[in-house]
């Protein structure tokens, strides 16, 4: 059997979802698979009365998740905002999986997203053969979500052109989508709502109109507050990825993860942990997600080309790739960091050598 590369949340955590649904005796809003409390438990983790352990999907403040779930209960749309790599899409996928059991109703926002993908398109062969009819209509994920009463995810809302963004206004305020060609409209079934994610720091975003922004409740997802929290996230995710990719490597050693997280945090914050040295920040965002991928790629290298243990050599190349996005300025930043900070840390000597080898 060929395994899929990345199972959806509802596939991967099917057992947890079933256990939660079985143990859940609270009231569920219509068309919800779980009660709001159970959704919060699913996201933040916990232990069920029957002993089933629910793994935490999101590490962070409980009140943020509560606000997010509460918003969806009130059939308001939810907007998750944050810098890249703060688990916006991750959270939205898991919320959709827990609430509707389906996280695949996704509209991906890009500069090329057209209104067809938000409203509906036409099957032109049918349209020409039969004229406009219900059968010739190709529904968008939004339309399907409205019909079935499911959660629709909109990724990178602010990357869409403004006029496409604004086509959400009717959907969100009227909860219906008119189809003038058929002289009809599709009315949303209870349970339908939208989770959008947006990035407030990237280049190439189109600011949301205030008319649209008003229709969302906004939750700002902060970067992990402490180094320990970030290390936990990276370890959990990297181990998961390692399993999914069937890497022949051991789970990453905590020390190596801590090194990567510390380097990322120091470069992101522009100063060393002890606050003594000022650093320049590179152009990339150096998110937690990138730290995870550095660890994962390091594990892949160690597994296939090394001794199966993640070490300094594997990290060095990953770090270089993650930090240096702009060849000139970022390379200088990285070089300075290696020479002023890495070099000074006696127990990091191996990493310093590996980084130097790579440069020369």
């Amino acid at each position: 059997m060929t395994a899929v590369l990345r199972p959806t949340a509802e596939q991967e955590y099917a057992a947890e979802l079933t256990a939660l649904a079985a143990a859940d005796d609270r009231q569920r809003p219509s068309n919800w698979r779980l009660s709001p409390q159970a959704v919060v438990t699913y996201v933040l983790g916990g232990t069920l009365p029957d002993g089933t352990v629910i793994t935490p999907k999101y590490v962070g403040e409980r009140r943020l998740v509560e606000i997010a779930v509460g918003t969806l209960v009130t059939d308001r749309a939810l907007l998750l905002v944050g810098v890249p790599g703060t688990a916006k899409s991750w959270l939205s996928e898991h919320l959709a999986a827990a609430i509707s059991g389906d996280s695949t109703l996704v509209v991906q926002g890009t500069a090329g997203t057209s209104e067809d993908q938000v409203r509906y398109g036409w099957n032109y062969a049918r349209l020409i053969a039969e004229g406009p009819s219900e059968n010739a209509l190709v529904p968008s994920p939004v339309l399907r979500g409205m019909r079935t009463g499911a959660v629709v995810r909109v990724e990178e809302l602010t990357r869409m052109p403004s006029e496409v963004q604004d086509s959400f206004i009717t959907v969100l305020s009227e909860k219906s989508l008119p189809v003038p060609e058929l002289n009809t409209q599709v009315q949303a079934v209870a349970g339908f709502t939208v989770i959008a994610t947006a990035n407030d720091r990237d280049r190439g975003v189109n600011q949301m109109s205030s008319a649209l922004a008003r229709r969302f409740n906004t939750v700002v997802l902060p970067p992990p507050a402490t180094e320990d929290a970030e290390v936990d996230i990276v370890v959990a995710r990297a181990t998961q990825l390692g399993k999914a990719l069937e890497l022949p490597a051991e789970p990453p050693a905590l020390d190596e993860v801590r090194r990567v997280v510390r380097i990322f945090r120091e470069l992101r914050n522009g100063s060393t942990v002890d606050g003594r040295t000022q650093l320049k920040s590179p152009s990339g965002s150096l998110s937690t997600a990138e730290a995870i991928s550095v660890i994962a790629s390091g594990m892949a290298m160690a597994g296939h080309f090394g001794d199966g243990r993640l070490g300094a050599d594997e990290l060095a190349s990953g770090l270089l790739g993650a930090v240096v996005k702009d060849r000139v300025s970022d390379a200088a930043v990285w070089h300075e960091y290696v020479e002023t900070v890495l070099k000074e840390r006696a127990e990091w000597r191996d990493l310093y050598r590996a980084c130097q080898d790579l440069v020369s």
Binding site: P36, Q37, R63, E66, G70, T74, R76
Partner: protein, 714 residues
């Protein structure tokens, strides 16, 4: 104790407790009410009807007014409700806590700061004790008396479980307070035949019920309490002061929310969001009624999600953040400031006793139309207008009295006729006013006394000059005279030229303002000249053989004095100053810093020519001279063709060995400049001489210089 006692255990400043107290008093109709508070405040009770909360009882030691404490009351405080009820029903009230005479001296008057109701609420999973009270306590018992007994029972449980070894949690101070409460309660039972109602912190209820210690043991515990004469008054208080954790605050972090809970029994959350929206709209932030509706729904859902019967402050805040503020903390802070704290200033009636000084202050505030306001506010005063000048006088005199109501804003110079002030009243100023009351009966006389005292105590020239300057600002002729006498006295005793000169800037400013301030400027000018003459003579000597620290001081003194002389001295004395500078510059073994600066000043004024300066620069290559010469003049160096040329010439003609010697000091001189200034300078250097000073523009030398300077600027 007996059936005649009704114990009402409360949460201090808890609106839920307030309701219980109000209802219970109405039901029991006691013949006397005992309230937790210092008995010295009993004398102030007749004034309750004329007060508008928040107000506070201010008590201070008569012999030492600065040893003072406040007992604040807000509209929603149970104690206040008890006071109000008693006042409107003509029922006597007694405060029955430990006398202030004893608690003023106890270091930690807040010893018993356990909030047992908050502990219970927390155990029940609530983070807002007031909502817990309403949802759990009030809903379970609608009868106030049975509610009170339920509270008492719960407290006995909490206290016995928390306090295994009594002395651990309940400190000595608390035990004494409770002994005193019992004694007062016994006395009240003796004095009044009817019902006795007791309003005190829930924590103390177990100490007043059940099998009590004997009166004898209480008396033993209370033996040797300090006796002092304590007096006080009612003062206006504010929500901000209630919220403050430190100082005289009550540690109520959300007085505005409590006031809201007290004022509105129904539709608490919708009314709250309606107010939040209007706060945001008043700052031109979008907040529609539709958003308020959504916020209410979200708050309700969040409460349900967290297993609470109704939304508390945290749910309301979360909902406001997500719906009304778009996840942005900045507008949320506005909501917090305006609503959660909800700034409000109480007032006291005219019949409330106050010191003559406080009365005079109130009169002046009224006359000058300068009411005390909590919100910081800018005030621009035009000293040519009578009213503005009086205001300035008042603010300055209050500053002297230790009441910094206005802070002078010296960020931008407005000339001699205008002043900027930052005004912000703080209710705790009441203490300073009470302390100052012993100095006089009016603001003018009290500040004059203080200034004259300061003048008498001044032992240094700079201090005397400062007192004199303040006296001139306050326009108090006798204090001005005292300041002048003090200045003369200190100047006569001073031997250090730097000390004499350091007083000049303050004095020069005073001379300038003197004309506006109704003081004869000539008087001051004479003083200035006297100091200048003596200081100038001693200056070169004072800079000889000194260490680097003193040299730094000398540098700033020279700068300050130079400015002062330009501002305030007449022509002959300006000449004296120049002569002193010249002498300093020519003193061979004086420290480089002041010498360098003197040389610069002389050169700028044309008293020295470029060659002489260059010679000096060459001669003192490796000394602090260069630093003193260049300090603080980066912009000038970049912009002034002459100065740049001078330094340029000097650098380029240095011998290699000399250059190496000069490099560290030069680098030090330049490292004083800010990065922006260094960049400016660097640009100036790399741009080359825009207009070459002479025709022989040597590309090679310029290149060399540029390289050197670039190295320096690194």
């Amino acid at each position: 104790m007996t059936d005649r006692v009704t114990l009402l255990g409360i949460r201090h400043h808890g609106p839920g407790s307030s309701r219980m107290v109000a209802a219970a008093l109405e039901r029991v109709r006691p013949s006397v009410v005992l309230i937790e508070g210092p008995p010295e405040a009993d004398a102030l009770l007749p004034h309750v009807p004329s007060l508008t909360p928040p107000v506070a009882v201010l008590l201070h030691d008569e012999s030492d007014p600065s040893s003072a404490a406040f007992w604040p009351f807000a509209e929603f405080s149970p104690e206040w409700q008890a006071l109000r009820w008693a006042a409107s029903n003509d029922v006597p009230v007694r405060f029955f806590d430990l006398p202030a005479a004893a608690s003023l001296s106890a270091d930690s008057a807040s010893g018993g700061s356990v909030d047992p109701i908050a502990l219970l609420a927390e155990a029940a999973g609530f983070d807002d004790p007031e909502r817990w009270w309403e949802d759990v306590v009030e809903h379970s018992a609608s009868d106030p008396i049975s509610l009170a007994s339920a509270v008492a029972e719960a407290m006995s449980g909490v206290r016995s479980s928390l306090v295994e070894g009594v002395s651990g949690v309940v400190g000595e101070h608390t035990l004494r307070r409770e002994a005193f409460m019992r004694r007062s309660l016994r006395q009240a039972l003796k004095d009044f035949p009817g019902e006795v109602a007791v309003v005190c912190g829930a924590w103390h209820v177990p100490a007043l019920t059940g099998p009590l210690p004997t009166a004898t043991s209480d008396n033993a515990l209370l033996k040797g309490l300090p006796r002092r004469k304590v007096s006080g008054t009612w003062v206006p208080w504010s929500h901000g002061q209630l919220a403050a954790e430190s100082g005289y605050g009550a540690g109520v972090d959300s007085p505005g929310w409590y006031a809201h809970l007290w004022e509105h029994r129904s539709d608490v959350v919708p009314r709250w969001f309606a107010r939040a929206c209007s706060v945001l709209r008043s700052e031109d932030l979008p907040a529609s009624t539709a958003s308020a509706v959504e916020a209410v729904r979200l708050a309700d859902v969040l409460a349900a999600l967290r297993g609470r019967p109704s939304p508390g402050l945290s749910e309301v805040t979360d909902a406001a953040l997500a719906v009304l503020c778009g996840g942005d903390e900045v507008p949320l802070r506005l909501v917090h400031r305006k609503l959660v704290v909800g700034e409000r200033l109480g007032s006291v009636g005219d019949d409330v006793p106050r010191s003559p000084l406080a009365a005079d202050l109130a009169r002046l505030q009224k006359r000058l139309r300068l009411p005390p306001q909590l919100e910081p506010k800018q005030l621009r005063l035009d000293l040519r207008k009578e009213n503005d000048r009086e205001r300035s006088k008042l603010l300055r005199r209050l500053e002297v009295l230790g009441v910094p109501w206005g802070k002078p804003d010296r960020t931008n110079s407005l000339g001699t006729f205008a002043e900027m002030w930052q005004l912000a009243w703080n209710p705790a100023f009441a203490v300073s006013v009470a302390v100052a009351a012993r100095h006089g009966t009016t603001v003018a006389s009290a500040s004059e006394t203080v200034l004259r005292q300061q003048a008498d105590e001044a032992d240094r020239v700079a201090r005397a000059a400062e007192v004199l300057a303040r006296a001139v600002g306050c326009e108090l002729p006798e204090a001005v005279e005292a300041g002048r006498v003090a200045l003369d006295r200190c100047a006569a005793a001073a031997t250090d030229a730097l000390e004499l000169l350091a007083a000049l800037p303050e004095l020069a400013r005073t001379v300038r303002y003197g004309s506006v301030r109704g003081t004869d400027p000539e008087l001051l000018r004479v003083a200035l000249h006297g100091l200048l003459a003596r200081g100038a003579v001693g200056l070169p000597l004072a800079c000889r053989g000194v260490d680097d620290e003193t040299a730094e001081q000398a540098l700033s003194v020279v700068d300050g004095a130079h400015e002062a002389v330009r501002l305030g001295a007449d022509e002959p004395h300006q000449q004296t100053w120049w002569a002193a500078l010249a002498k300093l510059a020519a003193t061979p073994d004086a420290h480089g810093l002041p010498t360098g600066r003197a040389t610069r000043l002389l050169w700028e004024a044309g008293e020295l020519d470029g060659d002489a300066v260059a010679a000096k620069l060459h001669r003192s290559v490796a000394t602090a001279f260069v630093a003193g010469f260049l300090r603080g003049s980066a912009t000038l160096l970049a912009a002034d063709q002459r100065l740049f040329g001078l330094i340029d010439d000097w650098l380029t003609t240095l011998r290699t060995a000399d250059f190496d010697d000069a490099l560290p000091l030069l680098r030090r001189a330049i490292s004083d400049f800010s990065p922006a200034e260094r960049r400016l300078l660097g640009e100036r250097v790399s741009a080359g001489a825009v207009e070459p000073v002479d025709d022989e523009w040597d590309e090679a030398i310029a290149q060399r210089l540029a390289t050197h300077v670039r190295e320096l600027l690194a």
